[in-house]
Amino acid sequence: MTGRRTFALVLLAACAWGTRPDVAHAQQYLIGGSIAASSGVEGGGSQNALARTRTRLRIGGDVRIDESPDDIFEFAAIAEVEPRSGFGADIRYARAAGDRFVVDVGLLGIVAPASLYGACASFNYRLPISKRTQIIVGPEADFFFLGSDLPDGTVLWELRLQGGLRVDL
């Protein structure tokens, strides 16, 4: 009797295992990579001064799930190349607004040679040039309010125009 009960339990477990909802196989990660350059104007501080901002290179990637392709997670390494250098990173949440427009918000930070942390938002237009490649262009706004590179009581803002290339991997 005990053996039959054990057999029944094992059989039930096997059936449950074999018929479990298998949603993982329906999901697929869609990954993209991008490289872009940007520059523009920056200002802030008590003088509300204005200057040309540092030219920045951004090399990053984006991940989304095929079941929800409009919700995109983006991450990138950023490098300020002129007139002064700096290195940092950003993470963003992006939302596709149509087939060719993407809006994103996120956090970014410069960590070397001095720290600078803030928030960013951008709007990108993706112009397809092949099945998997797009030209990206659009404005970006950055606001820095923390960090050792920032004078006391200063909020630094940057308005950039960025352009680059994105590839579906």
Binding site: G40, V41, E42, G43, G44, G45, S46, Q47, N48, A49, L50, A51, R52, R84, G86, P113, A114, L116, Y125, L127, V137, P139, S148, D149, L150, P151, T154, L156, L159, R160, L161
Partner: protein, 117 residues
């Protein structure tokens, strides 16, 4: 929207940003500390030498910050004017109007407790 319109809008945006960068507003030397050369700091939009610490000058062990027997100008109202001749007394005059006259002392040291002769 046609492609030519998109290109037109993109060029307009580029010109706006370039124009703002080149001529609008007060131009700043720095907005971040790292905008300045090493050894300089950013203050009020300009790269300047960092301010010296208080007490960097006149700290020779004398709490008053002057050498007795010498004259220092005290026009600011906070300094002292000290003048003395050995054997003929001494004069300590502060800008506050505090004046001590004495005579017959060779010490040349101001001491308010010493009886004037």
């Amino acid at each position: 929207m046609s492609t030519s319109d998109r290109v037109r809008y993109a060029l307009l945006a580029i010109f706006l940003v370039a124009g703002a960068a080149s001529g609008c507003g007060a131009v700043s030397d720095c907005l971040r500390y790292s905008d300045c050369d090493p050894g300089l700091t950013c203050a009020y939009g300009s790269c300047v030498f960092p301010p010296q610490q208080d007490g960097a000058t006149g700290d020779d062990g004398n709490s008053l910050g002057f050498d007795p027997g010498t004259t220092a100008s005290g026009d600011s109202g906070t300094g002292f004017v000290v003048g003395g001749e050995a054997g003929s007394g001494f004069v300590v005059a502060a800008d506050s109007g505090f004046v001590v006259n004495g005579s017959g002392s060779d010490a040349g040291i101001a001491d308010t407790d010493a009886p004037a002769e």
